[in-house]
């Protein structure tokens, strides 16, 4: 099947800064792709290039089989939602929602406009707010209206630029589920940009990991979480972050620099590797070598132990039922099948 949207070798430079370095990607017709990366990775530039606010020096953008690289933004039928709410504060919610439909060149009848506004308001459960002025809304309500303004036009593609960053953590957690469910219901493809790993894992059909204007890896959340291509990608996902230890081969074991044997060597690999193991893939008991618990963080459903294991600072996630405190001894055991080894 042909992709809905394709980028081929898209590059964008601002002065000396190469913001995008030959990005190629594809998006299917009913897919939510999350672009994950730190500040300055080029995420926003990528969205602005796709929507037509920036024009790339190199490469092409193809939507539904047609090249749109140099089309005006209005001709692309995309809707973008930004981090700040960008509503007209003195206008009612209804008027804000009507605005994109009243833009010059769009010919909708009064009835059509009303019908679409009601539809969007129902989808986002903001019917009761339609008569209110935007400046009377809470942050979560404002962002719902902003999303409403994007969906009334029934665009071909949604582009979301960290839409939840300005909201409280609790609202973020609720809205990320809502946005993903809404998108699925609408069946419209979406590219969602964020630096928040939980949003990426939770929402994405596929994640694109971006760093310094380049794609490091593309895959389903599970692929990226379980089989990150590099330690850099591995560090982008997971909480607490993955434990990384340089190891060398010795007597059939992977051993740290100071002689701590961690794992059996199972196949022929280079002498030196980087070992990655996620905190939930280490059990606090069953290992041979002792470690001392330094900190216990109670996270509610789980506990995070920070342990000193032969001088290595290791994070272990344990169930809440595992009782221990600072100073206690544990015997970490790495779940071999979950360990990741990279050739450095």
């Amino acid at each position: 099947m042909d992709s809905f949207l394709k980028l081929r070798g898209v590059s964008k430079r601002y002065g000396k800064v190469q913001a995008l370095k030959g990005i190629s990607l594809s998006l299917q017709e009913d897919e939510l792709v999350v672009v994950l990366g730190p500040t300055g990775a080029g995420k926003t530039t990528l969205l602005r290039t796709i929507v037509g606010l920036e024009s790339p020096e190199e490469g092409s953008i193809i939507m539904e089989g047609r090249e749109i690289t140099h089309d005006a933004p209005a001709d692309r039928y995309m809707a973008m939602v930004f981090q700040d709410f960008s509503l007209y504060p003195d206008w009612t919610v209804r008027r804000n929602l009507e605005f994109p439909l009243r833009a010059p060149g769009r010919r909708y009848t009064k009835e059509e406009i009303q019908e679409r506004v009601e539809w969007a308001a129902t989808m986002l459960r903001i019917n009761h707010l339609l008569g209110r002025d935007s400046n009377q809304l809470s942050g979560g309500e404002m962002q719902r209206v902003t999303i409403g303004r994007a969906i009334v036009r029934r665009p071909k593609l949604f582009l979301m630029d960290e839409p939840l960053s300005n909201l409280d953590a609790k609202l973020r957690e609720e809205l990320r589920v809502e946005i993903a469910c809404l998108r699925r219901e609408l069946g419209t493809p979406m590219i969602y940009v964020t630096h928040d790993q939980a949003e990426a894992l939770s929402m994405a059909d596929r994640i694109i990991v971006l760093s310094n204007g380049e794609i490091l890896q593309t895959g389903t959340p599970e692929e990226i979480y379980r089989a990150p291509a590099t330690p850099e990608v591995a560090l982008q996902l997971g909480q607490p972050k993955i434990n990384l230890l340089p190891v060398t081969r010795s007597d059939g074991q992977w051993v740290t620099g100071n002689g701590l044997a961690l794992l059996d060597v199972r196949d022929s690999r280079p002498e030196r590797m980087m070992l990655g193991v996620r905190p939930e893939d280490i059990e606090p008991t069953g290992g041979k070598e002792v470690a001392t618990v330094e900190v216990v963080e109670d996270m509610g459903a789980t506990r995070i132990l920070v342990v000193n294991w032969w001088g290595h600072r290791i994070h272990i996630t344990v169930p809440k039922s595992f009782a221990c405190g600072p100073g206690d001894e544990v015997y970490p055991h790495i779940r071999t099948e979950r360990a990741i080894l990279w050739d450095p």
């Binding site: 607490p240 972050k241 459903a301």
Partner: protein, 387 residues
């Protein structure tokens, strides 16, 4: 005098005396007054907004306290009153036995770090850190000693010559922290210091701040809306809503025994599942009826019959072929180490925290079982917990 500032060492603070906040030896005076005491503290703004509505809080020396709540709950106003940046309309603030309510910020000996606490852009990192010392006229030699101490502690030695625009987000925040720490204040006040950082940096800085605080033993009041941040940092969490304190307790107390529906939902990611229903007592048994479901318990004396809300955390909901509750999957939310299964049931929406199972898709039917041992009940009229 031995301060916890210097690990294992003894240092004299002649030039910096008095420094009671840094010393473990100066415990609460008289045994009943805590290090930091807020009494009936209230703030009503000129426009009539009652931001803080008479709160009482005692903070022990060396404690890490997190004020947690949604936007507009009064947490920042509370912190700003402690700092002296807002004047309370009512109530008092006592710091180490002294009523500081009317003192200017500079007279309170507190150090603060704010989310957007701008470093002076035209000053180097070194000059930024020294700024608070220069402004109180600390002697040159002592300035150098303190700068060296704080920059080695925070790993800033190589950045001292740089300017703020040359720093990344994490370094920027580390410098702001150094500036707050360099004076050895009695209390650290932090208002969402990590809010502007990328999520992976936030995690790193969170551990860093906690590590520093533990090492220094300086009483800290920290404001956030992020319950995960609160859980991981706090000795005790103060949950606030609408200008009032809803609950004070250790992270596990707050999580396991929320005092009302607000706390039950706000704390936890996602929050507690809340199901409306009726408590029924018949022939010496007690059961809770919600929709067509009935949960039977060993009888307890304290919960009367009537309308209640049943609360159960997502980790106490399990997938079970024989489970009595049928749910339709709304979303299978992958989180890496686990997943959250959001389902629609006859009892309402129920979220289960489970092992990753990518075969479950939106629209699938699942059977759920709730662990009756971990139920919490709330009065459906008042929202308060009943035991």
């Amino acid at each position: 005098m031995v301060g916890r500032w210097v690990e294992g060492g003894v240092r004299r603070y002649d030039l910096l005396d008095p420094l009671p906040g840094c010393l473990l030896t100066s415990g609460p005076k008289g045994g009943t007054v805590s290090f930091l005491e807020l009494r009936n503290l209230a703030k009503t703004f000129p426009d009539g907004t009652r931001a803080v509505r008479g709160i009482d809080l005692s903070v022990e020396q060396g404690e890490f306290i997190v004020l947690l709540g949604p936007s507009g709950c009064g947490k920042t106003t509370t912190l700003r009153m402690i700092a002296g940046l807002e004047t309370p309309t009512e109530g008092t603030i006592q710091l180490d036995g002294e009523n500081v309510s009317r003192l200017r910020p500079s007279e309170r000996d507190v150090g603060f770090v704010f989310q957007l606490y701008a470093l002076y852009p035209h000053l180097s990192v070194r000059e930024n850190i020294l700024f608070p010392l220069k402004s109180v006229g600390t002697e040159k030699e002592e300035q150098e000693t303190l700068l060296e101490e704080v920059s080695s502690r925070l790993g800033l030695e190589s950045l001292l010559g740089k300017y703020p625009y040359q720093l990344g987000g994490g370094d920027h925040q580390r410098v702001a922290l150094a500036r707050a720490m360099v004076r050895h204040p009695r209390v650290f006040l932090m208002d969402e210091p990590l809010g502007a950082l990328d999520s992976h940096l936030r995690l790193e800085m969170r551990e860093f701040i906690r590590g520093q605080q533990l090492a220094l033993g300086v009483t800290t009041v920290y404001v956030t809306h992020d319950q995960e941040e609160a859980m991981s940092l706090a000795d005790r969490i103060v949950v606030m809503d609408e200008g009032e304190i809803r609950q004070v307790g250790t992270p596990s107390e707050i999580y396991d025994n929320p005092s009302d529906l607000f706390v039950a939902n706000f704390v936890g990611s996602p929050g507690m599942n809340l199901l409306k229903g009726e408590m029924i007592r018949e022939n010496g048994t007690m059961s809770f009826r919600s929709g067509s479901e009935e949960f039977v318990f060993p009888p307890s004396q304290s919960i009367p019959a009537g309308g209640f809300v049943l609360g159960v955390r997502p980790e106490y909901v399990s997938l079970d072929r024989e489970g009595p509750i049928v749910g339709k999957v709304l979303m299978n939310e992958y989180m890496g180490s686990n997943c959250f299964l959001h389902t629609d049931t006859a009892l309402g929406r129920i979220t289960a925290r489970c092992e990753v199972d990518s075969s479950l898709r939106t629209g699938d039917d699942v059977h759920l079982r709730l662990d009756t041992e971990h139920f919490c009940f709330f009065d459906s009229a008042t929202g308060t917990r009943v035991e």
